[in-house]
Amino acid sequence: MKGAVAVKGVQKLSNRRGETFTGWAFAAPFAVLFVLFLVVPAIYGLYLSFTGETLTGSGGELLGFANYTEALTDPDMWRSLGNTLWFTVLSTVPLVVLSLAFALLVNLGLPGRWLWRLSFFLPYLLASTVVVMFWSWMYNPKLGLINGVLAEVGIGPVAWLQDPKVAMISVVVTTLWWTIGFNFLLYLAALQNIPEQQFEAAAIDGAGKWRQLFSIVIPQLAPTTTLILTLQVLASLKVFDQIYMLTNGGPAGSTRSIVQYIYESGFTGYRFGYSSAISYLFFAIIVLVSLAQYKLINRRSAA
């Protein structure tokens, strides 16, 4: 074994140049796309954020930090940012808690397992456009199913997407329906990897089902919960599609997300420089959130 390692080391040294060529040849197709469509736009966007660039290419002169100071004093930017954070809180909590509850229920081994799994996962396969078409119809104030059912019991009609107090909740409900399947699947897969012996041992010790849930299942799922929480927060912060199509950010900007504001500044207002500045401010927030999550996770696993 030692000999083999030594031989390999020698081979490595003599082949160093050849290895570098081969390595880059393998990495090249990815690296070219990666540089061209991620690194370059990231740097170009940073440059744009310091200019007054517009869609037509005029006003490209350097402005220093003017776009950034404007963004930081722009009430619409703050409102969109606030909406985004609020959406993230409102959506992340049920998307983690309910997906766990669904997975636990399906994992009980009741009959019809494939049907339950199918029902919860199916919406995840739909394009945002289709999801929004379904739910615009569900939420339709006069003809929608929800108000129709509520009318039967004498409630309503509720303006689900037109009332600033309700619109965000409606968006969250749609998001919950659409995306819970992904978290649900991850929990379900993790549940099935908990060794059966642990339950048998606990049962012998006289631990009931609920006791097992809190002393075995939930602690065993901790790494999965961390992963789901991290992915979910990042996904929710980037929300655009369903809000843009359901409410177009309305009523009166009450649901407009930061990505939509970036889109509108760039492609409706044609202010590429300003839009890029907001992108970079938002990116800074994403980095901060990621770092905070990283710290929290490390502290917890160290403890």
Binding site: K12, E19, T22, G23, W24, F26, A27, P29, F30, L33, F34, F37, L38, V39, P41, Y44, G45, L48, F102, L105, L108, L110, G112, R113, W116, R117, S119, F120, L122, P123, L125, A127, T129, V130, M133, F134, W137, L143, G144, L145, V149, L185, A189, Q192, N193, E196, F199, L227, L234, L237, F240, V259, I262, Y263, F272, S276, S279, F283, I286, V287
Partner: protein
Amino acid sequence: MTSYALSRGIKQGHKPGRKPGENPWSISRMVALLVLAFLAATWLVPFAWSVLTSLKSEADAGASSLSVNPPDGLGFDAYRKVLAAGDIPAWAWNSLLTSVAITLLTVATSALAGYAFSRISFRGRRWLYVAIIAAIIIPPQLLIVPLFRQMLSFNLVDTYWGIILPQAFAPAMVLILKRFFDQIPVELEDAARVDGANRLRVFWSIVLPLSRPILAAVAIFVFIGAWNNFLWPFIVTTDADLMTLPVGLQTVKSAYGLQYAQNMASAILAALPLVVVFLFFQRQIIKGIATTGFGGQ
């Protein structure tokens, strides 16, 4: 993920819950079953309600919307009209073409790069690797403006390549595949290399065949994402003939106006391909999503 854990996957796992001696009809199990049935029904209602609407006449859909048995009866009129208009099949073709291209390119580029990171010690490997990890937290949504400018200068706006290229690579998938390749015993390759096979040959005839499950998982994940992606195709296409299904539907949604039945028929038609594929390959798709979701762990 060890190959042992991978092969266990979801469905092959044990079926936990009921122990042999446990009463299958206990009250708590019946309650759980009822709760589950209620939740699943709730989750299926938007589908059912949209299908029902799509089967009605426009007059019924716009009037007696709750009725299960409308005056004009139920039929496929709305579907016929939507299909005759021709947009949906054309958009579905665009979606299929771009999603397949994106999937093939992403799997190929990620597998090659993942193998390079796993097996070949080349100059510059370290910093490229760090760049990839850093790139994972950059949301593509934040790059739409500079990317669009770039596409204008490349003359790729309103082309298939304009849709495909920015989606044809995935840093996260490179990492997933690298981790998988790391676990393939290197001795398998050494034997072939002693016999004079070059890297590409070893990769093609030894590594790839051993990696089929993870490649399928990555392909499934990428395909679903590409098929359903909205924002980038929406930005880079203005020509209705080149639009993908999600973008085309959103663009003409207002054109349907008050034609609720046709609106729902087109939504159902757009949802159908992936739903049908899912029903056939349920187990593989679920396993694929879970594997890639866990980052290949």
